[in-house]
Protein backbone atom coordinates (compact mmCIF):
# COMPACT_ATOMS: atom_id res chain seq x y z
CA UNK A 1 0.00 0.00 0.00
CA UNK A 2 2.01 2.93 -1.27
CA UNK A 3 -0.46 5.73 -0.44
CA UNK A 4 -3.49 6.05 1.80
CA UNK A 5 -5.87 8.43 0.05
CA UNK A 6 -9.33 7.21 1.00
CA UNK A 7 -11.12 4.25 2.53
CA UNK A 8 -12.98 3.07 -0.58
CA UNK A 9 -9.73 1.59 -1.81
CA UNK A 10 -9.15 -0.43 1.38
CA UNK A 11 -10.06 -4.09 1.33
CA UNK A 12 -11.37 -5.87 4.42
CA UNK A 13 -8.11 -7.71 5.14
CA UNK A 14 -6.03 -4.60 4.65
CA UNK A 15 -8.27 -2.62 6.98
CA UNK A 16 -8.16 -5.29 9.68
CA UNK A 17 -4.38 -5.56 9.35
CA UNK A 18 -4.12 -1.79 9.93
CA UNK A 19 -6.34 -1.98 12.99
CA UNK A 20 -4.41 -4.96 14.38
CA UNK A 21 -1.11 -3.18 13.84
CA UNK A 22 -2.49 -0.11 15.61
CA UNK A 23 -3.50 -2.34 18.52
CA UNK A 24 0.06 -3.64 18.81
CA UNK A 25 1.41 -0.11 18.82
CA UNK A 26 -0.92 0.87 21.64
CA UNK A 27 1.05 -1.57 23.79
CA UNK A 28 4.10 0.66 23.87
CA UNK A 29 2.44 2.80 26.53
CA UNK A 30 3.26 0.04 29.00
CA UNK A 31 6.93 0.03 28.15
CA UNK A 32 9.91 1.74 29.62
CA UNK A 33 10.87 3.24 26.27
CA UNK A 34 7.60 4.42 24.70
CA UNK A 35 9.00 4.57 21.21
CA UNK A 36 9.94 2.22 18.38
CA UNK A 37 12.95 2.62 16.09
CA UNK A 38 11.03 1.44 13.04
CA UNK A 39 11.13 4.62 10.95
CA UNK A 40 14.42 5.93 12.21
CA UNK A 41 16.03 8.14 9.56
CA UNK A 42 12.75 8.51 7.68
CA UNK A 43 11.42 12.04 7.23
CA UNK A 44 7.69 12.61 7.38
CA UNK A 45 6.47 15.96 6.07
CA UNK A 46 3.22 17.38 7.39
CA UNK A 47 1.77 19.51 4.59
CA UNK A 48 -1.16 21.25 6.24
CA UNK A 49 -2.53 23.72 3.71
CA UNK A 50 -5.73 23.77 5.72
CA UNK A 51 -5.27 24.39 9.39
CA UNK A 52 -5.90 21.69 11.96
CA UNK A 53 -3.87 21.65 15.10
CA UNK A 54 -5.15 18.37 16.52
CA UNK A 55 -4.76 16.24 13.39
CA UNK A 56 -1.36 17.73 12.74
CA UNK A 57 -0.16 17.06 16.28
CA UNK A 58 -1.56 13.55 16.11
CA UNK A 59 0.45 12.76 12.98
CA UNK A 60 3.50 14.42 14.46
CA UNK A 61 3.17 12.32 17.59
CA UNK A 62 2.69 9.14 15.59
CA UNK A 63 5.73 9.81 13.43
CA UNK A 64 7.91 10.58 16.43
CA UNK A 65 6.84 7.45 18.29
CA UNK A 66 8.23 5.54 15.32
CA UNK A 67 11.47 7.54 15.55
CA UNK A 68 10.83 9.36 12.29
CA UNK A 69 11.82 12.99 11.79
CA UNK A 70 9.01 15.45 11.16
CA UNK A 71 9.00 18.67 9.17
CA UNK A 72 5.86 20.75 9.13
CA UNK A 73 4.38 23.20 6.66
CA UNK A 74 1.25 25.14 7.52
CA UNK A 75 -0.58 27.41 5.09
CA UNK A 76 -0.67 30.72 6.96
CA UNK A 77 1.92 33.33 6.20
CA UNK A 78 3.71 31.06 3.82
CA UNK A 79 4.54 31.55 0.19
CA UNK A 80 1.33 29.65 -0.58
CA UNK A 81 -0.62 32.72 0.36
CA UNK A 82 1.68 34.54 -2.04
CA UNK A 83 0.41 32.32 -4.85
CA UNK A 84 2.78 29.36 -4.89
CA UNK A 85 0.88 26.35 -6.19
CA UNK A 86 0.17 23.00 -4.56
CA UNK A 87 2.61 21.38 -6.95
CA UNK A 88 5.45 23.79 -6.26
CA UNK A 89 5.01 23.70 -2.47
CA UNK A 90 4.96 19.91 -2.39
CA UNK A 91 7.97 19.59 -4.67
CA UNK A 92 9.90 22.18 -2.68
CA UNK A 93 9.29 20.31 0.57
CA UNK A 94 10.14 16.97 -1.02
CA UNK A 95 13.38 18.45 -2.33
CA UNK A 96 14.44 18.81 1.31
CA UNK A 97 14.36 15.03 1.58
CA UNK A 98 11.10 13.39 2.60
CA UNK A 99 9.81 9.84 2.20
CA UNK A 100 6.25 10.30 3.41
CA UNK A 101 3.94 13.30 2.93
CA UNK A 102 0.89 13.78 5.11
CA UNK A 103 -1.41 16.22 3.34
CA UNK A 104 -4.42 18.20 4.45
CA UNK A 105 -5.98 20.57 1.90
CA UNK A 106 -9.28 22.34 1.40
CA UNK A 107 -9.56 21.09 -2.21
CA UNK A 108 -11.15 17.70 -2.74
CA UNK A 109 -8.76 15.51 -4.66
CA UNK A 110 -5.60 17.36 -3.58
CA UNK A 111 -4.04 14.23 -2.03
CA UNK A 112 -5.01 12.18 -5.06
CA UNK A 113 -3.34 14.69 -7.37
CA UNK A 114 -0.15 14.67 -5.33
CA UNK A 115 -0.08 10.88 -5.37
CA UNK A 116 -0.89 10.36 -9.06
CA UNK A 117 0.34 13.37 -10.98
CA UNK A 118 3.96 12.27 -11.18
CA UNK A 119 5.10 15.36 -9.27
CA UNK A 120 6.44 13.43 -6.25
CA UNK A 121 8.30 10.27 -5.23
CA UNK A 122 7.09 10.20 -1.63
CA UNK A 123 4.22 8.15 -0.25
CA UNK A 124 1.13 10.27 0.35
CA UNK A 125 -1.21 10.02 3.33
CA UNK A 126 -4.44 11.99 3.08
CA UNK A 127 -5.14 13.89 6.30
CA UNK A 128 -8.35 15.36 4.88
CA UNK A 129 -9.12 16.81 1.45
CA UNK A 130 -12.04 19.19 1.01
CA UNK A 131 -15.31 17.34 1.45
CA UNK A 132 -13.97 14.13 -0.07
CA UNK A 133 -12.11 11.87 2.38
CA UNK A 134 -10.43 11.59 5.79
CA UNK A 135 -9.28 7.95 5.91
CA UNK A 136 -7.29 8.03 9.15
CA UNK A 137 -10.30 9.46 10.98
CA UNK A 138 -12.47 6.60 9.74
CA UNK A 139 -9.80 4.11 10.75
CA UNK A 140 -9.49 5.50 14.25
CA UNK A 141 -13.28 5.56 14.58
CA UNK A 142 -13.47 1.90 13.55
CA UNK A 143 -10.59 1.07 15.89
CA UNK A 144 -12.41 2.76 18.76
CA UNK A 145 -15.62 0.87 18.07
CA UNK A 146 -13.76 -2.41 17.79
CA UNK A 147 -11.78 -2.03 20.96
CA UNK A 148 -14.79 -0.88 23.00
CA UNK A 149 -16.87 -3.77 21.70
CA UNK A 150 -14.30 -6.57 21.95
CA UNK A 151 -11.65 -5.30 24.35
CA UNK A 152 -8.42 -7.29 24.31
CA UNK A 153 -9.96 -9.90 22.01
CA UNK A 154 -10.34 -7.43 19.16
CA UNK A 155 -7.44 -8.74 17.04
CA UNK A 156 -8.55 -9.99 13.64
CA UNK A 157 -12.15 -8.90 14.19
CA UNK A 158 -14.35 -6.72 12.00
CA UNK A 159 -17.55 -4.81 12.86
CA UNK A 160 -20.08 -7.28 11.50
CA UNK A 161 -23.64 -6.33 12.35
CA UNK A 162 -22.72 -3.27 14.39
CA UNK A 163 -25.43 -0.60 13.99
CA UNK A 164 -23.94 2.86 13.51
CA UNK A 165 -25.91 6.11 13.22
CA UNK A 166 -24.05 9.16 11.85
CA UNK A 167 -25.73 12.53 12.38
CA UNK A 168 -25.01 15.96 10.95
CA UNK A 169 -23.90 17.77 7.81
CA UNK A 170 -23.35 14.62 5.78
CA UNK A 171 -23.29 16.47 2.45
CA UNK A 172 -20.12 18.38 3.31
CA UNK A 173 -18.48 15.80 5.56
CA UNK A 174 -15.37 13.93 4.51
CA UNK A 175 -15.49 12.12 7.85
CA UNK A 176 -18.95 10.76 7.01
CA UNK A 177 -17.90 9.63 3.54
CA UNK A 178 -14.79 7.82 4.72
CA UNK A 179 -16.67 6.23 7.61
CA UNK A 180 -19.44 4.97 5.33
CA UNK A 181 -16.98 3.19 3.04
CA UNK A 182 -14.93 1.64 5.84
CA UNK A 183 -17.88 0.63 8.00
CA UNK A 184 -19.48 -1.10 5.02
CA UNK A 185 -16.22 -2.91 4.31
CA UNK A 186 -16.09 -4.09 7.91
CA UNK A 187 -19.69 -5.33 7.87
CA UNK A 188 -21.40 -2.64 9.92
CA UNK A 189 -24.90 -1.28 9.18
CA UNK A 190 -24.92 2.47 8.70
CA UNK A 191 -27.78 4.94 9.02
CA UNK A 192 -27.24 8.59 8.04
CA UNK A 193 -29.36 11.23 9.74
CA UNK A 194 -29.62 14.79 8.39
CA UNK A 195 -32.14 17.26 7.03
CA UNK A 196 -32.63 16.87 3.28
CA UNK A 197 -30.60 20.01 2.59
CA UNK A 198 -27.55 18.43 4.25
CA UNK A 199 -27.81 14.98 2.63
CA UNK A 200 -25.45 14.35 -0.31
CA UNK A 201 -26.79 14.03 -3.87
CA UNK A 202 -27.13 10.42 -4.89
CA UNK A 203 -27.05 9.12 -1.30
CA UNK A 204 -29.79 6.70 -2.29
CA UNK A 205 -27.11 4.79 -4.21
CA UNK A 206 -24.87 4.45 -1.15
CA UNK A 207 -25.08 1.28 0.99
CA UNK A 208 -26.73 3.09 3.86
CA UNK A 209 -30.16 3.81 5.28
CA UNK A 210 -31.09 7.48 5.34
CA UNK A 211 -33.34 9.08 7.87
CA UNK A 212 -34.41 12.70 8.27
CA UNK A 213 -35.86 12.07 11.75
CA UNK A 214 -33.22 11.62 14.46
CA UNK A 215 -35.61 10.16 17.03
CA UNK A 216 -36.80 7.46 14.65
CA UNK A 217 -33.20 6.52 13.95
CA UNK A 218 -32.53 6.24 17.68
CA UNK A 219 -35.61 4.07 18.13
CA UNK A 220 -33.70 1.42 16.18
CA UNK A 221 -31.37 0.87 19.17
CA UNK A 222 -28.05 1.67 17.51
CA UNK A 223 -24.75 0.44 18.98
CA UNK A 224 -22.95 3.64 18.04
CA UNK A 225 -24.14 7.25 17.62
CA UNK A 226 -21.58 9.46 15.87
CA UNK A 227 -22.25 13.21 15.96
CA UNK A 228 -20.66 15.49 13.35
CA UNK A 229 -19.84 19.14 13.86
CA UNK A 230 -22.13 21.63 12.15
CA UNK A 231 -20.44 24.66 10.63
CA UNK A 232 -21.92 28.12 10.86
CA UNK A 233 -21.59 28.75 7.10
CA UNK A 234 -24.23 26.09 6.51
CA UNK A 235 -26.70 28.14 8.51
CA UNK A 236 -26.03 31.18 6.32
CA UNK A 237 -26.12 29.27 3.05
CA UNK A 238 -29.83 28.57 3.37
CA UNK A 239 -29.24 24.96 4.34
CA UNK A 240 -30.98 25.43 7.64
CA UNK A 241 -33.19 28.13 9.16
CA UNK A 242 -31.50 28.60 12.53
CA UNK A 243 -29.07 26.94 14.96
CA UNK A 244 -31.96 26.58 17.44
CA UNK A 245 -34.04 24.58 15.01
CA UNK A 246 -31.06 22.43 14.10
CA UNK A 247 -30.28 21.66 17.73
CA UNK A 248 -33.84 20.76 18.60
CA UNK A 249 -34.18 18.35 15.68
CA UNK A 250 -30.69 16.97 15.26
CA UNK A 251 -28.78 17.60 18.44
CA UNK A 252 -27.85 14.82 20.88
CA UNK A 253 -29.68 16.48 23.75
CA UNK A 254 -29.74 15.21 27.32
CA UNK A 255 -33.15 13.61 26.69
CA UNK A 256 -32.05 11.83 23.54
CA UNK A 257 -28.87 10.68 25.26
CA UNK A 258 -30.84 9.25 28.17
CA UNK A 259 -32.97 7.23 25.74
CA UNK A 260 -29.90 5.34 24.50
CA UNK A 261 -29.05 1.89 25.86
CA UNK A 262 -26.13 1.91 28.28
CA UNK A 263 -23.87 0.09 25.88
CA UNK A 264 -24.35 2.58 23.04
CA UNK A 265 -21.18 4.48 22.22
CA UNK A 266 -21.30 8.26 21.74
CA UNK A 267 -18.63 9.38 19.26
CA UNK A 268 -17.50 12.72 17.80
CA UNK A 269 -14.51 13.47 15.57
CA UNK A 270 -13.93 16.78 17.34
CA UNK A 271 -13.73 19.63 17.89
CA UNK A 272 -17.22 19.67 19.37
CA UNK A 273 -19.67 22.53 19.79
CA UNK A 274 -21.04 21.75 23.26
CA UNK A 275 -24.73 22.48 23.42
CA UNK A 276 -25.10 22.49 19.66
CA UNK A 277 -24.77 19.06 18.09
CA UNK A 278 -23.93 17.39 21.41
CA UNK A 279 -24.97 18.08 24.99
CA UNK A 280 -22.45 18.11 27.82
CA UNK A 281 -24.22 15.20 29.50
CA UNK A 282 -23.56 13.05 26.46
CA UNK A 283 -20.03 14.31 25.84
CA UNK A 284 -18.90 13.71 29.42
CA UNK A 285 -20.57 10.33 29.98
CA UNK A 286 -18.72 6.98 30.23
CA UNK A 287 -20.34 6.08 26.90
CA UNK A 288 -18.49 8.92 25.21
CA UNK A 289 -15.33 7.87 23.36
CA UNK A 290 -14.29 11.39 22.38
CA UNK A 291 -10.95 11.44 24.20
CA UNK A 292 -10.17 7.79 23.41
CA UNK A 293 -10.65 8.61 19.75
CA UNK A 294 -7.83 11.13 20.08
CA UNK A 295 -5.50 8.60 21.76
CA UNK A 296 -6.42 5.88 19.32
CA UNK A 297 -5.72 8.28 16.49
CA UNK A 298 -2.02 8.18 17.34
CA UNK A 299 -1.80 4.35 17.17
CA UNK A 300 -3.79 4.26 13.96
CA UNK A 301 -1.63 6.92 12.35
CA UNK A 302 1.48 5.02 13.44
CA UNK A 303 0.09 1.94 11.70
CA UNK A 304 -0.63 3.97 8.57
CA UNK A 305 2.84 5.56 8.42
CA UNK A 306 4.46 2.15 8.93
CA UNK A 307 2.30 0.59 6.21
CA UNK A 308 2.88 3.19 3.49
CA UNK A 309 6.61 3.49 3.99
CA UNK A 310 8.48 2.19 0.98
CA UNK A 311 12.22 1.97 0.74
CA UNK A 312 13.43 2.11 -2.85
CA UNK A 313 11.10 0.31 -5.28
CA UNK A 314 7.38 -0.03 -4.54
CA UNK A 315 6.08 -3.20 -2.89
Amino acid sequence: MRHLLDTDGLGRDQAIALLDTAAEFSGIQERKVQKLPTLRGVTVANLFFEDSTRTRLSFESAAKKLSADVITFTGQGSSLSKGESLKDTAQTIEAMGTQIMVVRHSSSGAAWRLAHSGWLNSSVVNAGDGTHAHPTQALLDAYTMRSRLHGAAATGKDLDGVRVVIVGDIAHSRVARSNVHLLNTLGAEVTLVAPKTLMPTGVDKWSVTTQNNFDEALAGSPDVVMMLRVQHERMKGSHFPSPREYVSRYGLSAERFQSLKESTLVMHPGPMNRGVEISSVAADSPQSTILEQVTNGVWVRMAVLYSVYQQGDAR
Binding site: M1, A17, D20, T21, E24, F25, G27, R31, K32, V33, K35, L36, P37, T38, L39, V42, L66, Y306, S307, Y309, Q310, Q311, G312, R315
Partner: protein, 176 residues
Protein backbone atom coordinates in the same frame (compact mmCIF):
# COMPACT_ATOMS: atom_id res chain seq x y z
CA UNK B 1 8.26 -37.89 5.38
CA UNK B 2 10.20 -38.97 8.44
CA UNK B 3 13.11 -39.85 6.20
CA UNK B 4 13.47 -36.14 5.27
CA UNK B 5 13.92 -35.02 8.84
CA UNK B 6 17.41 -34.19 10.01
CA UNK B 7 16.08 -34.10 13.53
CA UNK B 8 13.10 -36.29 14.35
CA UNK B 9 10.41 -35.75 16.97
CA UNK B 10 12.26 -37.78 19.53
CA UNK B 11 15.54 -36.00 18.68
CA UNK B 12 13.89 -32.67 19.47
CA UNK B 13 12.53 -33.91 22.80
CA UNK B 14 15.95 -35.19 23.85
CA UNK B 15 17.66 -32.01 22.69
CA UNK B 16 15.34 -29.75 24.65
CA UNK B 17 15.90 -31.83 27.78
CA UNK B 18 19.64 -31.50 27.37
CA UNK B 19 19.42 -27.75 26.75
CA UNK B 20 17.32 -27.35 29.90
CA UNK B 21 20.07 -29.01 31.91
CA UNK B 22 22.70 -26.79 30.28
CA UNK B 23 20.77 -23.62 31.04
CA UNK B 24 20.40 -24.63 34.69
CA UNK B 25 24.08 -25.48 34.92
CA UNK B 26 25.02 -22.16 33.33
CA UNK B 27 22.82 -20.07 35.63
CA UNK B 28 24.02 -19.92 39.23
CA UNK B 29 20.91 -18.02 40.42
CA UNK B 30 17.98 -19.81 38.74
CA UNK B 31 15.49 -17.74 40.73
CA UNK B 32 16.38 -14.79 38.41
CA UNK B 33 15.93 -16.83 35.28
CA UNK B 34 13.33 -15.74 32.70
CA UNK B 35 12.83 -17.02 29.14
CA UNK B 36 11.81 -14.78 26.24
CA UNK B 37 10.78 -16.51 23.03
CA UNK B 38 10.95 -14.83 19.60
CA UNK B 39 7.69 -15.53 17.73
CA UNK B 40 6.53 -17.81 16.34
CA UNK B 41 8.52 -20.96 17.03
CA UNK B 42 10.96 -19.40 19.49
CA UNK B 43 7.95 -18.70 21.71
CA UNK B 44 6.85 -22.34 21.47
CA UNK B 45 10.33 -23.56 22.32
CA UNK B 46 10.56 -21.13 25.24
CA UNK B 47 7.40 -22.67 26.75
CA UNK B 48 8.81 -26.17 26.36
CA UNK B 49 12.18 -25.22 27.85
CA UNK B 50 10.45 -23.52 30.77
CA UNK B 51 8.42 -26.69 31.44
CA UNK B 52 11.55 -28.84 31.32
CA UNK B 53 13.48 -26.51 33.61
CA UNK B 54 10.73 -26.39 36.21
CA UNK B 55 10.41 -30.21 36.04
CA UNK B 56 14.07 -30.38 37.02
CA UNK B 57 14.27 -27.57 39.58
CA UNK B 58 10.72 -27.81 40.93
CA UNK B 59 10.24 -24.04 40.54
CA UNK B 60 8.27 -22.20 37.82
CA UNK B 61 10.22 -20.21 35.25
CA UNK B 62 8.52 -17.03 33.93
CA UNK B 63 8.11 -17.00 30.15
CA UNK B 64 7.44 -14.07 27.85
CA UNK B 65 7.19 -13.32 24.12
CA UNK B 66 9.36 -10.71 22.38
CA UNK B 67 8.11 -9.52 18.96
CA UNK B 68 10.94 -8.00 16.91
CA UNK B 69 9.00 -6.88 13.78
CA UNK B 70 9.43 -3.17 14.48
CA UNK B 71 13.16 -3.53 15.11
CA UNK B 72 14.10 -5.27 11.88
CA UNK B 73 16.73 -3.73 9.64
CA UNK B 74 14.67 -4.25 6.44
CA UNK B 75 11.67 -2.03 7.18
CA UNK B 76 10.02 -0.75 4.00
CA UNK B 77 11.40 -3.54 1.84
CA UNK B 78 9.62 -6.67 0.79
CA UNK B 79 6.16 -7.56 2.05
CA UNK B 80 4.50 -5.59 4.83
CA UNK B 81 4.87 -7.46 8.15
CA UNK B 82 2.18 -7.14 10.80
CA UNK B 83 3.57 -7.01 14.35
CA UNK B 84 2.39 -9.56 16.92
CA UNK B 85 2.04 -9.03 20.69
CA UNK B 86 5.00 -8.74 23.06
CA UNK B 87 4.32 -10.00 26.58
CA UNK B 88 6.68 -9.48 29.44
CA UNK B 89 7.25 -12.45 31.72
CA UNK B 90 5.79 -12.22 35.26
CA UNK B 91 8.09 -10.06 37.34
CA UNK B 92 9.47 -8.21 34.31
CA UNK B 93 13.00 -8.37 32.96
CA UNK B 94 14.83 -5.74 35.01
CA UNK B 95 17.85 -7.26 36.80
CA UNK B 96 16.92 -10.73 35.50
CA UNK B 97 18.93 -13.34 33.65
CA UNK B 98 17.12 -13.28 30.31
CA UNK B 99 17.52 -16.21 27.96
CA UNK B 100 16.35 -15.33 24.44
CA UNK B 101 14.99 -18.38 22.64
CA UNK B 102 14.70 -18.88 18.87
CA UNK B 103 14.40 -21.87 16.55
CA UNK B 104 17.15 -21.23 13.99
CA UNK B 105 20.27 -19.02 14.22
CA UNK B 106 21.47 -18.01 10.75
CA UNK B 107 22.59 -14.46 9.84
CA UNK B 108 22.09 -13.15 13.36
CA UNK B 109 19.94 -10.19 12.21
CA UNK B 110 16.87 -11.38 14.11
CA UNK B 111 18.87 -11.65 17.33
CA UNK B 112 20.36 -8.18 16.73
CA UNK B 113 16.80 -6.83 16.45
CA UNK B 114 15.77 -8.81 19.53
CA UNK B 115 18.57 -7.23 21.58
CA UNK B 116 17.37 -3.73 20.58
CA UNK B 117 13.79 -4.65 21.44
CA UNK B 118 14.94 -6.07 24.76
CA UNK B 119 16.81 -2.92 25.77
CA UNK B 120 13.67 -0.82 25.10
CA UNK B 121 11.73 -3.16 27.44
CA UNK B 122 14.01 -2.88 30.43
CA UNK B 123 17.48 -3.48 31.83
CA UNK B 124 18.31 -7.17 32.26
CA UNK B 125 21.27 -8.23 34.40
CA UNK B 126 22.47 -10.74 31.82
CA UNK B 127 21.29 -11.80 28.36
CA UNK B 128 21.92 -15.28 26.94
CA UNK B 129 20.84 -16.89 23.68
CA UNK B 130 19.41 -20.41 23.26
CA UNK B 131 18.66 -21.82 19.79
CA UNK B 132 17.45 -25.20 18.64
CA UNK B 133 19.53 -25.17 15.45
CA UNK B 134 22.68 -23.19 14.58
CA UNK B 135 23.22 -23.38 10.82
CA UNK B 136 26.25 -21.08 10.59
CA UNK B 137 26.81 -18.20 8.06
CA UNK B 138 26.67 -15.30 10.49
CA UNK B 139 26.47 -11.74 9.05
CA UNK B 140 26.83 -10.25 12.55
CA UNK B 141 29.22 -11.04 15.44
CA UNK B 142 26.61 -13.06 17.37
CA UNK B 143 26.92 -16.51 18.94
CA UNK B 144 24.52 -18.71 20.84
CA UNK B 145 25.22 -19.75 24.43
CA UNK B 146 23.03 -22.87 24.30
CA UNK B 147 22.75 -24.80 21.02
CA UNK B 148 20.48 -27.75 20.37
CA UNK B 149 22.19 -28.95 17.22
CA UNK B 150 24.92 -27.57 14.98
CA UNK B 151 23.77 -28.03 11.40
CA UNK B 152 26.35 -26.82 8.86
CA UNK B 153 24.48 -25.85 5.69
CA UNK B 154 24.98 -24.14 2.37
CA UNK B 155 23.53 -20.59 2.12
CA UNK B 156 21.09 -21.54 -0.63
CA UNK B 157 19.63 -24.34 1.50
CA UNK B 158 16.52 -23.80 3.59
CA UNK B 159 16.46 -25.07 7.18
CA UNK B 160 12.95 -25.43 8.58
CA UNK B 161 11.82 -26.29 12.08
CA UNK B 162 8.34 -27.75 12.52
CA UNK B 163 6.69 -27.84 15.92
CA UNK B 164 3.37 -29.42 16.86
CA UNK B 165 1.91 -26.30 18.49
CA UNK B 166 2.63 -24.05 15.49
CA UNK B 167 2.82 -26.39 12.50
CA UNK B 168 0.96 -29.60 13.39
CA UNK B 169 4.06 -31.75 12.87
CA UNK B 170 7.44 -32.26 14.58
CA UNK B 171 10.87 -32.31 12.99
CA UNK B 172 13.71 -30.29 11.43
CA UNK B 173 14.15 -30.47 7.68
CA UNK B 174 16.79 -29.17 5.26
CA UNK B 175 15.66 -28.38 1.73
CA UNK B 176 18.27 -28.16 -0.94
Amino acid sequence: MAADYVLSESDITRTIKRMAHEIIEGTPDTSSLVLLGIPTRGAVLAERLADQISDITGADVPVGVLDVTMYRDDIGQGELRIPTPTTEPDGGIDDKVVVLVDDVLFSGRTVRAALDALIDLGRPRTVRLAVLVDRGHRDFPIRADFVGKNLPSATHEHVSVFLEESDGEEGVRVER
